[in-house]
Amino acid sequence: MSDDDLISAAKNGDQDAFAHLVTQYEKRIYNLTFRMTGNREDAEELTQTAFLNAWRGLPRFQGDSSFATWLYRLATNCSIDFLRRQKRRKNPDCLVSLDESETQFPDLRYAPEEMALQDELRTHIFAGLNTLTPEHRRILQLRELDDLSYQEIADLLSLEIGTVKSRLARARLSLRRFLLAEGNFSELFASNEIEPKGGDLP
């Protein structure tokens, strides 16, 4: 069954159809919420909340955007609400707004338990992603960690497909430049044998 068929069935109360959609998208949504909270338990709870909201909101889903884009927005909103509540609890006078595009990856260097799960290269990739501009970081997250298609990213960020394409390329070049400068990928990088190109796209 296609996504459209599953969504139609789920709208009519078919829980098995909804279960298929959950299985299909739970990893992406879990990754998104984990990245935003840096905590597995919170990520699990927020993933469940996002899917619960999706089930409740299905009758209002008109298919203007893809199901993935809609679900992604729901999960992002849940996570932002959660982070705002956390922030307010810690600092009631703080009115700082939270923007998903500005959230960074959790710094795992001081979290020994998480460090055990990472190897050195991945730790440096995390560090490299955090050095990117918010728009470059976000587009790489959407594409490489959340597996959204170019069209879904374009819908989500209100961009032209061509802009998605060129922004992704620039983000990748920036990340590569950081990793080359840090020297952490020496054994992997072919360009160590060749004069590396430092240039961005025009």
């Binding site: 829980q15 909804f18 279960a19 959950v22 299985t23 739970e26 990893k27 879990y30 990754n31 984990f34 597995r40 990520a43 699990e44 993933t47 469940q48 909340t49 899917f51 619960l52 089930w55 260097r109 001081y110 020994p112 338990e113 460090m115 055990a116 990472q118 050195e120 290269l121 991945r122 730790t123 440096h124 990739i125 995390f126 992603l129 790489l140 490489e144 960690l145 170019y150 394409k165 060129s166 992704l168 390329a169 990748r172 070049l173 990340l175 590569r176 080359l180 952490n184 990928f185 992997l188 990088f189 072919a190 360009s191 044998e193 060749i194 590396p196 190109k197 240039g199 796209l201 025009p202």
Partner: protein, 209 residues
Amino acid sequence: MTTCSDCELLISAELDDELTAEERNMLLSHLEYCPTCRALRQDLRAIFVQTHSLQVQPPPDLTAHLMLPPRHKKPWRTLCALAAMLCLCIIGLAHFLPPPKQADYALRSTEFATENFAPQTARNPIRAYSMVFDLYKNSDPLLPTEAAEKVAAFCGVNVDDLTFLGLTPKRDAYLFSLCHETDHSSYFTVSNGVVTPLSTAPKVAVAMK
């Protein structure tokens, strides 16, 4: 004629499987005579693989939790009922039962560690020692300071140079974290009074700025 700038775009799109047949031909023709772009392509592929490996796996029972019939999910009502029941139980039992051993141990350990190890002041902790106390399975665990001394001896560092990072309660254990200004991280379990490295130290190398 495809330029190197064009090629950067094409290499990126190729990773995402978003090239048309014509674009693919343009890319391959350019790569035939441009070693710099060939190297770029290989680098971006290596990064692509590593970035994908950052994806985290959801817990295996996540789907099962999600698949509870949605019509039965009343999170707030359930939470309120559970909270009310819990309050009644705590109020009722507080007068009769001693504090739970694990909670008491965690509290004492945290106080002890805070008093006996230097607080984390500088952003330069580089060696992290994580000791997992399986308190729930262990009736007589080591005190953190005893475990820290054993770990310090094992690693050949002075226990006084360790910095206390925190004690984190887990489902069936406590994670006790220390750090030291060197350049590697090591992991240990502490069980039945014995410190055991989880693998040949250092297990995880993390370079710090």
